[in-house]
Subunit: 98 residues, 2 copies
């Protein structure tokens, strides 16, 4: 299992519209993606137009190839991309348990 | 409840020592902090010397004042700060539920 952490700046004033569009995208697009496990959304306190997604995938390739190179990614971006102020900053992480 | 997300670059080659020190800090220091709820650690796949902490606190002030201005913070940094390659990048986030 890996975690995608994406930081996204939204056009100021479009935060609520973005959240609505994202709700549709998360409930309709992500569940169709192979290897998708969970989605969590955080909104910045210091930067309230910035959001962080934490998305868990079975494998790195489930995100970078299976999802990114599929029509589902086009649907995902069509729903939410119009609210982006700049390209998302995306990195992948492995969980470390103590 | 708020989430602190901290991104920390570790001196290359000190990753395992850092994880060991952090394990001690998380098990001995954080549980003493008022309002501390949970800690999760992620290691970068693209950047394996970079770690992300996700720390849940009851309130923003539990972290920024209660913890940061306490002796516990000095103990925390004494255990792990020696492995930092640069100052951590810390921001606070509220969870958005759909």
């Amino acid at each position: 299992m890996i975690t995608e952490i994406a930081v996204v700046d939204i056009v100021v004033g479009q935060e609520k519209d973005f959240e609505t569009s994202l709700g549709v995208a998360v409930s309709t697009v992500l569940p169709q993606a192979k290897g998708f496990l969970s989605f969590n959304l955080h909104r910045g306190i210091e930067s309230p137009s910035t959001y962080t997604f934490l998305i868990e995938w079975n494998t790195l390739e489930d995100h970078t190839i299976g999802f990114r190179e599929s029509d589902l990614f086009l649907q995902w971006r069509a729903l939410i991309g119009k609210h982006f102020a700049s390209p998302p900053r995306v990195e992948h992480w492995e969980s470390i348990a103590f």
